[in-house]
């Protein structure tokens, strides 16, 4: 794989920060965008901008065709059964809220149980807490071990016929852990529970076959897989979506409106009220094509080599404690350094041109588990290099010396 060629696809990487070549290691927050995605978005605004689904003029037909083509690209990428199951949203957060509101209100009652895990992002915790408050349902949490792996024995014990939904993150943004979702889905289905998989982190790093895994609800965001911000997808089984009430009312989601009654539109439009992020969806489709042009399996293999390289360096760096050492993990190096607060590390590294994230990573329960207020997190992507990992550790040495 020619990383130099891949780097050239990302115009943003070619810049200096405080006189240093930019080293972008905050990919778990959002990845950079290749030129082809930027071009697809500009092309829409320059040549095709118009509203979709409702115009008879040429621009609207072109925009609608591109929007719907993106839906098919995304369906195929995740191997969903049909484009009716592919609903565009603002991102993972909105996808989960859609399920918690629409499916949750219709299917969850007092003393039903929602089972999530200790390593969920706040977006897969708070909507369920809100649902539990509304309905009197009970939120249960699967514990994890020191390495940041789920306690699968506890998971089996916590599952029961009271469990109505299991919410699990495919890959943790705070720890990098890849969870055994295949087994979890099978076990959940055995007790009749539905499963929501938060694919925000995993989607860009490993193959996810929604039919093979038998996922009921799948949420992800374009911006973590080289696409634009503010757009994502909910993929859910058609039968579930058909039985769910709409999430929001408005234009595009209706067939017929009178003041007496409204007839809802067919899937997927029933869940896409209002003018969507058309340019974003088109850019999302292009981002997936970009991933396909390199090959997801090749990406995963290369990223593993880089993570192993960084992990080896981390292990021999005095005073560094890794947070998250699961056997199955990808692309995330989360850590604390003796004597230097993560927030100070973030500032010091920035002045060396190295962009990392410092904070709780929207996963405060994970911080509470490890009894740290925050961690520093370097997260990798297909365009990162061994030289950039070296730059990270050189900057860490500098930070350590400042506080020595």
């Amino acid at each position: 794989m020619n990383i130099e060629k891949i780097r050239n696809d990302f115009p943003i990487l070619d810049q200096e920060i405080y006189g240093h070549q930019l080293v972008y290691l905050d990919n778990a927050a959002t990845t950079q965008k290749p030129q082809c995605v930027i071009d697809a978005v500009s092309h829409y605004y320059e040549k095709d901008n118009s509203n979709i689904q409702r115009g008879v003029h040429t621009l609207s037909e072109r925009a609608t065709a591109d929007y719907e083509a993106a839906r098919e690209t995304i369906r195929a990428f995740f191997n969903a059964k049909s484009t009716k199951e592919v609903i565009f949203t603002r991102g993972t957060t909105e996808s989960i809220n859609l399920v918690a509101s629409s499916w949750g209100n219709a299917n969850i009652g007092k003393n039903d149980e929602i089972l999530i895990t200790h390593m969920e992002h706040h977006s897969n915790i708070v909507p369920w807490q809100m649902l539990c408050e509304r309905t009197g349902a009970i939120l249960k949490v699967v514990p994890m071990n020191e390495a940041g792996e789920l306690d699968m024995a506890a998971f089996s014990t916590l599952l029961s016929e009271r469990t109505k939904l299991v919410g699990v993150v495919h890959m943790s943004n705070a720890l990098g852990t890849i969870n055994p979702i295949e087994t979890m889905i099978q076990q959940a289905h055995n007790v009749g529970a539905k499963v929501l998989v938060d694919g925000a982190q995993a989607a860009a790093h490993m193959r996810t076959d929604i039919q093979a895994l038998d996922i009921d609800f799948y949420a992800t965001s374009a911006h973590k897989m080289y696409g634009p911000t503010g757009v994502g997808v909910l993929i859910a089984k058609e039968a579930l979506l058909n039985a769910m009430p709409p999430y929001q009312g408005g234009g595009d989601m209706i067939l017929m409106v009178t003041f007496e009654k409204t007839q809802y539109n067919a899937l997927p439009h029933k869940f896409e009220a209002g003018t969507p992020n058309i340019a974003g969806v088109i850019g999302f489709g292009q981002a997936i094509k970009y991933i396909q042009s390199i090959g997801l399996d090749k990406i995963a293999a290369r990223e593993k080599v880089l993570l192993d390289y960084a992990t080896t360096k981390a292990q021999s760096f005095a005073g560094l404690r890794q947070i998250g050492t699961a056997k199955e993990k990808a692309c995330v190096l989360s850590f604390v350094l003796d004597g230097v607060h993560p927030h100070d590390l973030g500032t010091i590294l920035d002045r060396e041109g190295v962009a990392i994230r410092a904070g709780h990573h929207c996963a405060m329960p994970v911080m509470q588990f490890y009894k740290v207020p925050a961690t520093a997190r370097a997260s990798f992507s297909i365009y990162n290099t061994e030289a950039e990992v070296d730059a990270l550790f050189a900057a860490l040495t500098k930070a350590k010396d400042m506080f020595a």
Partner: protein
């Protein structure tokens, strides 16, 4: 160009490593908690203010980055044994410094030792770290029920 040395001055590193007036004050007349939701900083400030409105004692505990720790440490040093009016004056002076334009020199005379934190305004994402302790002491003195947050 602003260098890291403008922010991480020796005094700040020193107060980070050995914060002054660190710990709990029990009993105390006033206390409050403060949070910086951005980075997880947590601060608890305790005060003993007597009938003559003198800050007889002041302590803080919590977990934070070097800027928030040093700022709290310097604040307690500046206020211990001082009248409440000194708190009011320094609060204003500190606020003015943290929100001043890049070119403006800090008012050394008004700020005293606290002027070492002037570099923070060149690091916009860190200003809240420096001001957290001041928001927290304000809510302690004004007996706010809500924890202070840096907004």
């Amino acid at each position: 160009m602003f260098s890291l040395g403008d922010l991480y001055k020796e005094v700040i590193i020193d107060h980070t490593k050995s914060p002054r007036n660190f710990g709990k004050l029990d009993p105390c007349s006033h206390d409050a908690e403060g949070f910086n939701p951005l980075c997880g900083d947590q601060l608890h400030i305790y005060l003993q203010i007597n009938a003559d409105n003198i800050i007889e004692d002041i302590k803080f505990e919590g977990q934070g980055c070097s800027i928030s720790t040093a700022s709290a440490s310097l604040m307690t040093q500046a206020l211990k044994g001082k009248p409440l009016s000194e708190y009011e004056r320094l609060f204003e002076a500190f606020h003015a410094m943290a929100t001043a334009g890049m070119e403006e020199e800090p008012d050394q005379e008004a700020l005293g030792k606290l002027a070492v934190l002037a570099g923070v305004k060149e690091f916009p994402s860190r200003i809240k770290c420096a001001t957290l302790c001041w928001h927290t002491i304000k809510s302690a003195i004004e007996h706010d029920d809500q924890p202070a947050i840096t907004e």
